[in-house]
Symmetry: C2
Subunit: 152 residues, 2 copies
């Protein structure tokens, strides 16, 4: 017999994510005019400059085809610059432009505020535990459990 709690985490993550995206969309609409998906990619690039499209895709758990679409758009809008990797002529490494840095500086305080409001009733210790747990979950998901990345 499956108890309700057995499945609550995967559902709960989905709902919380939906709530977060909803709020992000709303708040991003004022500031810059970047979509949630674009903001997310920019934030990742700020934290890890020089990532390639393939690397960005892996870290975001999406296909490279999905990521390239975001990346190309960001490049066209002058938010990202891409340069050939000197060690591997096929790889293009992405970095934020000054414009993007400025945009993030303007927008990130709002995102921090969102997170703070959302976690108002969650202690610092509890946040650490959650962060650690979700990170472990992401490692497993990245490894490609039984599904999408079938080991042959």
């Amino acid at each position: 017999m499956i108890r309700p709690a057995d499945l609550s985490l995967i559902h709960l993550v989905g709902r919380v994510n939906q709530g977060i995206r909803r709020e992000m969309r709303f708040r991003l609409a004022r500031g810059g005019t970047v979509s949630v998906q674009e903001y997310t990619a920019l934030a990742l690039l700020r934290e890890s400059p020089g990532l390639s499209n393939a690397e960005l895709a892996r870290r975001s758990l999406v296909t490279p085809q999905s990521m390239i679409e975001i990346l190309v758009k960001l490049e066209q809008r002058g938010l990202v610059s891409r340069e050939v990797d000197p060690a591997h002529g096929r790889v293009l490494r992405s970095r934020l432009t000054a414009h993007a840095e400025g945009l993030l500086d303007k927008v990130e305080p709002e995102m921090v505020a969102l997170q703070e409001e959302m976690l108002a009733d969650v202690s610092a210790e509890q946040r650490e535990v959650i962060l650690d747990g979700l990170l472990r979950a992401m490692v497993k998901l990245s490894a490609g459990l039984a599904g999408s990345t079938r080991a042959e």
Copy 2:
């Protein structure tokens, strides 16, 4: 100055969610032929039978227009039956059909397995803390922080 850790949780939830949905889509493709979005609604209805469209939407943090689309499709496919609330002629209360119960019985073990694989390195105590924390976050998000539901 914004430290990287300041924003990690909202991003981490997004990535974990993406990983979960990716796996769910893959595993659901075999069993029933329900989409992730449909499965999620069915699971919620099993846990809370008799919810109206508006209630389902609120619990899922989506608009009623988004939810009605799923619900109508499920009804057409014979997975959900809807009846007028005797106390309020406008409200339609949804319940799973026997067919849907059978489908969930077949599919849920796979979803439980997914959650177990994903949380393999997370202790029972840690899961409790995460569950509690995300629930608190969802309460805040449901209340409509500063954004989408602007209090005038």
